[in-house]
């Protein structure tokens, strides 16, 4: 295992210590239970937004805490959803009296832990709305399974809901926007290499030099199919087709196109991916009105990419453009 770490069991703690000394102007880091909270929380009268999940997806979620995005993030162990006590403390820390939105990615662990935290918070008199993100078209949607995973749309939902909360919209409105974003967002990912979970010490799966996994999630889990590696343009077609046909997006739709690195894929390749994704979207009559390109929701050092498309309307565009000031996303301020 080649990583810039000390002891595997200290990875998350030391990462948080790094964040604490790096961004004291933006965030405060609490330990035991671990959570990252806006330096100016709680903000009276503003809906608080809390998210969280396993570590290893940086900058998500901790890097998205700050003005115009999350009020708090709860990092679990690497790829392990955090625990209800973290979520409860984070919720209390950001409660400004207008209620708190939990943005939860659709994993059994995240769902159950956030459910318990919401129950506990409600018991303390805090109004809670929970919205589950399940945008991964690589997984068949079904009532009889855990359903779809929550992936790239999470980042977009956090930005957009953060802006809505900043405008002092009500808990119900912010939660409704979150549901709309989830309903309008679709993602699909692929991996060229596995990642290595620090406490495991070797790659989660073996992928021969000439093969790739299509339909991976963000936890180093294998994808839906393994196949020979192909040119970028063909790979992008394999990711875009199921996205576009799933919603389905219609000619004339305005969309945000988000090309994400799984962690180990550099920007030079992302632009090659973006070029083709943009071409395909345009060929389908979609109007790419906004975009995001970079490593925003990662799987440690995994090489690969995911593409997320989000249908936009005027309100979403305005919320997307609104100022954001976090360690991981910043503009307009």
């Amino acid at each position: 295992m080649k990583k810039l770490i000390n002891k595997p069991e200290d990875v998350v703690k030391e990462e948080l210590e790094g964040i604490a000394v790096a961004h004291p102007d933006l965030v405060k880091v609490h330990f035991d239970p671990n959570f990252i909270v806006r330096a100016d929380a709680p903000i009276q009268g503003k809906v608080g937004i809390v998210s969280g999940g396993g570590s290893g997806h940086e900058p998500m979620h901790g890097g998205f805490v700050g003005l115009g995005m999350l009020d708090a993030a709860c990092p679990g162990a690497v790829f392990t959803s955090p625990t209800p006590d973290q979520m409860l403390e984070a919720t209390k820390a950001v409660n400004g009296g207008a209620g708190v939105l939990h943005i939860v990615k659709n994993y059994t662990g995240d769902i159950m832990n956030f459910e318990m935290a919401a129950d506990l918070a409600r018991a303390e008199g805090i109004e809670i709305e929970s919205v589950v993100i399940d945008d991964d078209v690589a997984v068949q949607d079904s009532l009889y399974t855990a359903g779809r995973r929550g992936v790239g749309t999470t980042v977009l939902a956090e930005k957009i809901c953060g802006a809505a909360a900043e405008q002092r919209r009500s808990l119900k409105e912010v939660a409704d926007i979150c549901r709309k974003v989830n309903g309008w967002g679709r993602s699909m990912g692929m991996a060229l290499t596995s990642c290595t979970v620090p406490h495991v010490g070797k790659p989660t799966f073996d992928l021969p030099e000439d093969e790739m996994e299509i339909g991976i999630g963000i936890h180093g889990e294998p994808g839906r199919t393994r196949m020979k590696i192909k040119p970028a343009d063909e790979i992008v077609e394999m990711l875009m087709e199921p996205i576009i046909s799933d919603l389905p997006y219609k000619a004339g739709d305005e969309v945000l196109l988000f090309v994400n690195s799984m962690g180990g894929t550099p920007l030079i390749e992302l632009y090659i991916v973006y070029r083709k994704a943009y071409e395909i979207a345009t060929k389908h009559g979609l109007k790419v009105v906004r975009n995001l390109i970079g490593p925003y929701i990662t799987s440690l050092e995994m090489a690969g990419t995911s593409i997320t498309m989000l249908k936009m309307d005027d309100d979403l565009i305005k919320l997307w453009d609104a100022p954001v000031k976090t360690p991981g996303l910043r503009w307009g301020v």
């Binding site: 679990g76 162990a77 832990n113 991964d136 979970v197 406490h199």
Partner: protein
């Protein structure tokens, strides 16, 4: 023919050791169809439980179970955290104030735990989860109690039933939990949660075999 408070503490202690020994094995299983953390999660949780030993030592079994449950809840995370925590919290409610457990007490406690897992996780038998080890084990215990077997015999049967249930997860296509994202590709692998549940019941059978 009863399980004493000390038996319970020894069982928990031994299970923590078993988890440490099987940490990599459980993680391997989880790497194949999940995210390679089940061993580490369970081990972290039960190490935290072991730190609570001093304060649990002189408590009743209900309090012990509830302490284990609360500790797991705040240290394990993932799907395993709330589920194992639920088993112990629910078992704890059924055993409040008790200093020893009869076979029937143990059945009641486990049943409450298993029902809690079903409620929380909404998994059915055959979904390729820990339910597939827990439910057969519970049924075997009940059957043994009806047949009037000894406590140790009943425990052995429940461990065997858990083992069979665990092995039966191998061909299944997962319908719940992280493995379900793999669809057909999840078949051919043993479920990690069913495995840790089997180990829990196997440890009970070994630990309490002279009771």
């Amino acid at each position: 023919m009863v399980i004493t408070r000390d038996d319970v503490l020894e069982w928990i202690t031994r299970y923590a050791e078993i988890l440490a020994e099987n940490r990599d094995y459980l993680t391997q299983l989880d790497a194949a169809i999940g995210d390679a953390d089940h061993g580490a999660n369970m081990d972290r949780g039960f190490q935290a439980v072991m730190k609570k030993m001093p304060e649990m030592r002189d408590k009743d079994i209900g309090t012990i179970f509830k302490t284990v449950g609360m500790t797991l809840l705040s240290t394990v995370g993932g799907a395993g955290g709330p589920l194992y925590s639920t088993i112990f919290l629910q078992a704890g409610m059924k055993t409040t104030g008790k200093m020893e457990l009869t076979l029937q007490d143990w059945i009641d406690a486990l049943e409450a735990g298993v029902n809690g897992v079903k409620m929380r996780g909404k998994a059915e038998l055959g979904d390729k989860t820990m339910i597939d080890a827990l439910v057969p084990a519970l049924n075997a215990l009940k059957q043994a109690a009806e047949n009037g077997t000894t406590l140790s015999d009943a425990l052995e049967r429940s461990a065997r039933a858990a083992e069979e249930g665990m092995k039966a997860t191998i061909p299944l296509v997962a319908r719940k939990g992280r493995a379900s994202y793999l669809g057909e590709r999840s078949a051919g692998h043993q479920d990690p949660g069913a495995t840790s549940s089997y180990l829990l019941l196997r440890t009970a059978a070994e630990q309490w075999k002279n009771n």
